[in-house]
Amino acid sequence: MTTLTTPALSTSPTTRNGVTWSRAVRSEWIKFWSVRSTVWTLLSGVLVIPFIGMMISLVVTGDVTPQMDQGGGGGPGARLGGGSPLELSLSAVDFGVLIVGVLGVLVGSREYSTGQIRTTLQAVPHRLTVLGAKALVTGSVVLVAMLVAVFVAFFGGQMILSSAGHASASITDSGAAQALLGAAFYLAGVSLIGVALGFLLRSTAGAIGTLVAGLMIVPGILGLVLPSSWARVVDYLPPNAADAMRGVSNYSGSLGAWAGLLVFVGWVAVLIAGAGLVLKRRDA
């Protein structure tokens, strides 16, 4: 590293282009794929969702016997008892929520923890463009990856079930497409909630904590704590609205599928808008 060239300053004439929306997206695309944590997190989501789905199908068919006794099972297989063949194969979606949520948080917060955000905003001073480009890249990459994951989980799971002579579901069954597309859409939406929280809190740990609290802890606690006349409030929380959207069989709320979709999209939109407001107002 001691060999330094005498700077050749006069350079080939470069055409001078300005920042555009599509160039900002291209930049975020390069950045997304050139950092290990995002790529590995995404990959783990793509692998874990089909893997757990198929494992649970194997458990149901008796090909694999779980080591733990029936009472001790928490985790992704908790719904194992009552689920339909369709839902058995998608058991890991709730776990995938954590993975894509963390992925989104990383996209939003990591540049703050490293200081990279200042370089990013130097190149693209229009801050909402940065947020929009990050959200577009993350949301669409996660959507495509999760579509692959849930379809592989579904077809793999059904294959295992049917080959063992168990009841299985077909993609043409009523509710199957809704469940699969809904799951992928939910996961993509959660990654955007993660991006928004990352920008809002600028801290990976804080944003992940808030995400877990908001998606997993608060809905459960509110369901227990709120008086029954307030029970409908819980229906409007993101995971509950997403359950309605996905047509989850044990959904007991009051929202229809389209209403659930609308409420869930509303949450994502409000959080991204909040992140945009904070991004514009606060010093980088």
Binding site: A8, N17, S34, R118, Q122
Partner: protein, 315 residues
């Protein structure tokens, strides 16, 4: 051209900028000199539109940073070299930034070559030393071939070869007619590099002058006189433009009159001199004296300078 007009900025109760006001001109290297906490980095962040000032305005080539449609072609800046994501490679770091302006990979490889990082282009940034990171930061600044270059403490972490290289680079950029603005907290560094100096302390400009003016001001110096008859001598040498201070009854510090002149006056009055010495302070001392009154963080071991009356009460 960078114009900074009456910038003020507070972080809570701390005043980071207190009416910062200066212009950086093209074709020369302008040194931005001041102790840590003087407001150098904050000024640069405001210039780049990263921090919003409480009042005042900063422009690059006449425009607010947020109004630049192709900022990388207007101003290339290096703030903190280590502020990168460690698992990304050097080349990908540059490609990601270049993409925002549609700058191609050929230019990316060109700037990597300019800063001598071609061999490590595919290494992850967490393996980079501070010096290598500084060079990558300079590559980022040069990416858009901008008319204005602004570097915050670029020689931090560089070995002597690297420091010499930066000096030549900055000189070359200025000779091409670019605006070169570089901060440092070391006078010795600036003395070799800068044509013009903006000295700051406590968020204000303390001196804004050419390097040669700063040098000649500093080398004017003063004369130390020791005499048992110091007080009589003091009456004789007094004149317009001559200032005499004394710390003890037998010692005078005279500026505005040469040692020869003092010696002749003493001889003609028959006064005894024990010592007559010209003291020309180093540039470092001149800088220290200029900024001392404004330094926020005083070391305890330092000489107990009486803070100038302009120093703000630190609260």
């Amino acid at each position: 051209m960078i114009e900074v007009e009456h910038l003020s900025k507070h972080y809570g109760s701390i005043t980071a900028l207190d009416g910062m006001n200066f212009t950086v001109h093209p074709g020369i290297v302008t040194g931005f000199l001041g102790p840590n906490g003087a407001g150098k980095s904050t000024s640069m962040r405001v210039i780049l539109g990263l921090d919003a000032p409480d009042s005042g305005r900063a422009t690059v080539n006449g425009k607010d940073y947020h109004d630049l449609s192709a900022p990388l072609h207007e101003i290339g800046a290096l703030l903190e070299a280590k502020s990168v994501e460690g698992s990304r490679t050097a080349r990908n770091q540059l490609r990601g930034i270049a993409a925002t302006h549609g700058i191609g990979d050929a230019r990316v490889d060109e700037v990597l070559h300019m800063v001598g990082l071609t061999d490590v282009a595919h290494h992850r940034l967490r393996t980079f030393s501070l010096g290598m990171s500084q060079r990558l930061g300079i590559a980022i600044a040069l990416l858009g071939d901008p008319a204005v270059i602004m570097l915050d403490e670029p020689t931090n972490g560089l070995d002597p070869d690297g420091i010499k290289w930066i000096r030549e680079l900055l000189r070359g950029l200025a000779d091409e007619g670019r605006t070169v603005f570089v901060s440092s907290h070391l006078m010795s560094e600036m003395a070799l590099t800068a044509d013009h100096l903006i000295v700051v302390g406590s968020g204000r400009v303390l001196a804004d002058m050419s390097m040669s003016d700063f040098v000649s001001n500093a080398s004017a110096g003063s004369v130390l006189v020791r005499s048992p008859q110091a007080q009589e001598l003091r009456r004789i040498i007094g004149a317009d433009g001559v200032t005499v201070t004394s710390n003890t009854a037998t010692e005078l510090e005279v500026s505005g009159r040469s040692a020869a002149s003092i010696g002749e006056l003493a001889a003609s009055a028959g006064l005894v001199l024990h010592e007559l010495a010209t003291r020309s302070p180093s540039l470092e001392q001149a800088f220290m004296e200029l900024t001392n009154s404004a330094v926020v963080y005083h070391g305890d071991s330092g000489v107990a300078h009486t803070a100038a009356s302009t120093a703000k009460d630190p609260s």
